[in-house]
């Protein structure tokens, strides 16, 4: 498998580390209900199809990436910097 890092270009899987559902990007705000925290930490969709997930370009540029990937074909649909447009 290969991922195209927006900074580094197409790279081998071994440079990356999978870090779970991209839901982790949406941390509950201060004062959120315990249910929201529970959902944030523990509840995950398990779609057969496109899935948003986080990858770390661990032995590359150290960017956290938001990857859209089809869980049935493993096709990578898009790769963006997780920080992009958020700061």
């Amino acid at each position: 498998m290969r991922l195209t890092c927006p900074l580094c270009g197409a790279r081998d899987l071994r440079e990356f580390s999978y870090r779970g559902d991209a839901r982790l990007m949406r941390r509950p705000a201060a004062g959120a209900a315990m249910e929201d925290w529970h959902a944030y930490l523990h509840l995950r969709d398990n779609p057969a199809g496109p899935h948003e997930e986080l990858w770390l370009h661990a032995t590359g540029c150290r960017a956290w990436l938001r990857v859209r990937r089809d869980t049935t074909t493993h096709e990578v649909l898009s790769v963006e910097l997780a920080a992009e447009g958020r700061g």
Binding site: D12, M34, H74, A82, A83, G87
Partner: protein, 978 residues
């Protein structure tokens, strides 16, 4: 001798000597072990898996199910080596497998007599009871009786490489389709890798009496290869099998670099496991001829018709002197033609099709079938049944063609299911089964030479268009374009067993039994009979098996479906996947600046992550680590010790929002820390459990230096990157590891200040450096940093200098320490010192402890948010029901403590229901003269003063302990404030 007087692609000028089962033979460069054996009239080469039936050579390629031998010796022993792939080298020694005492007389041939009892599923039915016999009797017996080659049991000392390759186009197979595809793409300037499993390039062109471009096919192949070799954008990889197709255009490949050499020259790897990243690929891996399941079809001398031609044309060997051919398609006729032109007697051509009328100068039996064979160790005769009765033909070789199966294997590696094509009676690849991969030539079911050349060129053109590489297609060389005509015969009913899978000894009867017992799904049949589950993955067997199952269950092959193929396409030595990363090269080693000094002092080393840290420094006369450790502990408590703590993670944090950022990632507050001060910090995971701890210094208004534990440095860096990039990208903060930039040494003990005063310019007293103070210093003329922190409980400092000066400073500090009655100390002493003080490591911060468990609940600031704060406040993460950090001291006659022991109330019966906690860290405390431990005890803080038992049932330890506070030495911390 069966070597023909002339012809073949072998070097007759050179003779290579080799042994098979201890007997000496000769061959030539260009031979495989199989062709050389046949040239020496060796036809019996192995015994079968289950029935120990005598077996010969079936094929001339990697699909070979029978001719598996052992080569090489010792740790390099290579079992199940396919004689049809192994190149001959001078001095090769091969041994047959799965026989005892000898190949010609195998005692376990008795299995064959019991074959009625050994059919599919016999394990499940026969070895049911008594249950106790399963592991002790049945399994060892079965394992001894069955199986192929045996492993040496020794480490494989041969070197292997792992490597990576990149290209625009990977062409898999160098037959007519592959060569034409590679040529088309290469001439357009694309970066091409042409991978071929064989040591010679050309595929079937090397094995057929054909003409391409008005020259012999092999000559055209050689000329094309020469053209390609001259091009800088082409990498030709011979002896390289593409073993797997994976996501995103990556392929696994195994290159046999040195397997064809007698002795490996120094540094040459035996093989290389490649990962190839290709923008596009063309599969031109050809097709495999298949056997027909007729009674007695497994005798040595029964051979695939195409293999007979390969041996004749490529190796100039005739597999026999009296040959019959049995075919259900036109391709079998070619074998008769080639045999006749080589002057070999063709006793009969048996074509299953009644209307077959080849123009051949040999007896033709149209509409015939083979219903039996004779010959114990080699074929002597076959029985042919026609409408007019049966005939016996005396033959030594039977060439069989049951049609061709495209080599669809790689197209199945990403879940693609091949589709049935009635015209060729075989499965062809599902289009688009591997994104970015085209299939061309025989692999796509187009069997004529012309069709293969054309398909190769067309596939390359499509790839080039797709990659927007301009090109002009090369001219298509003229070649034969014979149609595929086949009326498939899958099996022939008759007396005796008809084999489908030769390697796993699966017969038509086994498939029938499977169907009869209702294992009718192909996947069930496969597992019930083990058909296709041997090392050859049933390359010559699967389709026949499916067709037989289809017939027996009254379905078409299409309706029956197919099982899938998985990587590797052919076996890969596991050592090749490890590459050079074996033994001490398993992972890289990190050495701190003191490493050379420690080695000179004969220190023992301990791994902490990738770091190799000094564990203890044995002094003269010390024979046990405890002696050294106890001495080093006393040294620190009484004078001064020096320890390399460079390995702790050091992270330089800067930016306008640095303070805010640290407040959010630490449970406690850092924005209030004064410049020039250090604070102990506790980091939580978002789920509320403790992740790591360490000290963080404030070097400037917007500048902090964070430290992490050695083991968690990487994890913390990932976590900080997550927080900065994913959670709060709006914060203006930057950080970079400075672990490698700074050498850092702990100097601890009552004489620590005295020692440092000698190397540091300016005062290091309580005013300049109060407890938890820090600042820049000049260390022997070098700009460094000093931190007044302690992990030992003694007056302690950590002094840092740029890493290039680290080795030199460490020696200087040790020299001065020794002059003061101290010296270096290692990890063992460091561990004792911290246990005595109740300081934490990852033995306690093991991912299941909360701040409250550790007695640090008040560190979680109530005034601000931080990662983990909300979840740490959940009910159940604090309070008396939790297991809390306590100290433990032996209180009875048993004085020993072991880490991992569980804690129980003195009166309770040890067991899961009464489990009250566990010991995480234990040591002998020289200060207390007894073993001590840290552990977690249910409601532990309230139970200080009570007694518990520390029980380890595995190590048979049961120690009555006093529960005490986790600080054993200087609980008030007077010494470290010194």
């Amino acid at each position: 001798m069966s070597r023909l007087p002339s012809g073949g692609q072998i070097d007759r000028g050179q003779r290579l000597g080799f042994d098979f089962d201890g007997k000496r033979y000769g061959g030539h460069p260009g031979d495989t072990l199989a062709s050389a054996l046949l040239a020496n009239d060796v036809r019996l080469v192995g015994r079968s898996f289950k029935y120990h039936r005598p077996r010969g050579i079936l094929s001339a390629g990697s699909e070979e199910p029978n001719a598996l031998v052992e080569i090489r010796a010792g740790g390099a022993l290579s079992p199940n080596t396919r004689a049809t792939v192994q190149e001959l080298y001078d001095g090769l020694r091969a041994t047959s497998q799965n026989r005892w005492p000898s190949l010609r007389f195998d005692a376990l041939e008795v299995n064959d007599l019991f074959s009625p009892f050994l059919a599919a599923g016999f394990y499940y039915k026969t070895f049911m009871w008594p249950k106790a016999f399963w592991e002790r009797v049945y399994e060892p017996l079965i394992r001894r009786a069955a199986g192929l080659g045996r492993l040496s049991g020794k480490p494989d000392g041969e070197p292997y490489d792992k490597a990576f390759a990149h290209c625009d186009l990977l062409v898999i197979g160098a037959g007519p389709a592959g060569l034409m595809a590679a040529l088309t793409a290469a001439e357009a300037g694309a970066e091409v890798i042409l991978a071929e499993e064989d040591f010679a390039l050309g595929g079937r062109l090397l094995a057929e009496q054909l003409e391409v471009d008005e020259m012999p096919a092999a000559a055209w192949a050689a000329a094309t290869v020469e053209r390609l070799s001259a091009m800088a954008n082409v990498q030709i990889m011979a002896r390289t099998t593409i073993t797997g197709a994976y996501d995103g255009g990556t392929f696994g490949a195994y290159e046999r670099v040195g397997e064809h050499l007698g002795a490996l020259p120094p540094d040459l790897p035996c093989g290389t496991f490649w990962r190839i990243a290709a923008r596009r690929a063309i599969l031109a891996g050809g097709a495999h001829e298949r056997l027909i399941a007729f009674p007695g079809n497994d005798r040595p001398g029964v051979m695939l018709a195409s293999a007979v031609r390969t041996y004749l044309n490529r190796f100039a060997v005739t597999p026999g002197q009296r040959v019959a051919i049995y075919t259900d398609n036109d391709d079998g006729w070619r074998t008769a033609e080639d045999l006749l032109s080589a002057g070999v007697s063709v006793v009969g051509l048996i074509d299953s099709r009644a209307d077959a009328a080849p123009k051949l100068d040999c007896p033709v039996i149209a509409g015939g079938a083979i219903v039996g064979t004779e010959g114990r160790l080699g074929l002597r005769a076959v029985t042919v049944r026609t409408e007019s009765g049966t005939r016996r033909l005396e033959v030594d070789t039977l060439a069989v063609s049951g049609g061709w199966n495209p080599a669809v294997h790689l197209t199945c590696h990403m879940n693609g299911r091949p589709v049935w094509d009635d015209a060729i009676a075989a499965f062809v690849p599902h289009p688009g089964a591997i994104p970015g991969m085209e299939v061309a030539g025989a692999a796509a079911g187009r069997f004529s030479t012309h069709a293969a050349l054309e398909a190769g060129r067309a596939a390359a053109s499509r790839v080039l268009d797709d990659l927007s590489i301009a090109h002009t297609a090369p001219d298509l060389p003229a070649a034969e374009d014979a149609p595929t005509r086949i009326s498939p015969v899958w099996h022939v009913a008759g007396k005796g067993r008809a084999w489908i899978d030769l390697q796993n000894d699966v017969t038509v009867k086994d498939v029938a039994l499977s169907a009869q017992e209702n294992f009718r799904s192909v996947e069930h049949m496969k597992r019930y009979t083990t058909l296709g589950m041997a090392t050859d993955q049933g390359k010559t067997a699967n389709v026949v098996g499916l067709a037989v199952l289809a017939e027996l269950t009254g379905r078409t092959v299409e309706e029956t479906g197919t099982t899938t193929f998985r990587p590797p396409y052919s076996p890969v030595p596991i050592a090749a996947m490890a590459g050079r990363a074996g033994g001490s090269h398993f992972q890289p080693h990190r050495h701190p600046p003191s490493h050379r000094f420690s080695s000179e002092r004969r220190a023992a080393f301990v791994e902490a992550g990738l770091w190799h840290r000094a564990s203890f420094y044995p002094a003269e006369g010390e024979h046990h680590w405890r002696q050294s450790c106890d001495r080093e502990v006393r040294m620190v408590r009484e004078s001064v010790g020096v320890c390399d703590v460079t390995t702790l993670g050091k992270i330089d944090v800067q930016g306008p929002d640095a303070a805010t950022f640290l407040d959010r990632v630490y449970a406690n507050t850092f924005s209030t820390l004064a410049v020039g001060r250090v604070r102990y910090g506790l980091m939580l995971r978002e789920d509320g459990f403790v992740m790591d701890d360490g000290t963080t210094a404030r070097l400037g208004e917007q500048h902090y230096l964070m430290t992490t534990t050695t083991g968690a440095a990487g994890q913390v860096m990932d976590h900080l990157d997550f927080a900065a990039q994913v959670l709060w990208p709006e914060l203006d903060v930057s950080f970079i590891s400075v672990t490698e930039q700074w050498a850092q040494f702990a100097v601890a003990g009552p004489k620590a200040r005295e020692l440092l005063s000698g190397v540091i310019e300016g005062p290091v007293d309580d005013t300049a450096f109060p407890f938890m103070g820090c600042g820049p210093v000049t260390v022997a003329g070098v700009q460094g940093r000093l931190f007044r922190i302690s992990f030992s409980g003694e007056l302690g400092y950590e002094v840092a200098v740029p890493a290039r000066f680290g080795a030199s400073l460490f020696r200087e500090l040790v020299r001065r320490a020794e002059a003061l009655g101290g010296g270096p100390y290692g990890m063992e002493a460091l561990n004792v010192l911290r246990i005595e003080k109740g300081f934490l490591t990852h033995a306690e911060l093991h991912g299941r402890t909360s701040a409250d468990d550790l007695g640090l609940g008040r560190m979680v600031s109530a005034k601000k948010d931080c990662i983990g704060k909300v979840m740490a406040g959940r009910p159940g993460l604090s309070g008396p029901e939790r297991q809390q950090l306590v100290g433990l001291r032996p209180a009875g006659p048993v004085r020993k403590l072991v880490a991992g022991a569980h804690l129980f109330s003195p009166a309770s019966q040890p067991g899961p229901a009464t489990d009250d906690g566990y010991l995480t860290s234990v040591c002998f405390s020289p200060a207390l003269g007894t073993m001590i431990g840290l552990g977690f005890l249910r409601n532990g803080r309230a139970r200080i003063g009570e007694q518990v038992r520390a029980v380890d049932l595995l190590r048979e330890q049961d120690t009555l302990c006093d529960v005490v506070a986790p600080q054993f030495v200087d609980p008030e911390g007077e010494r470290l404030r010194g």
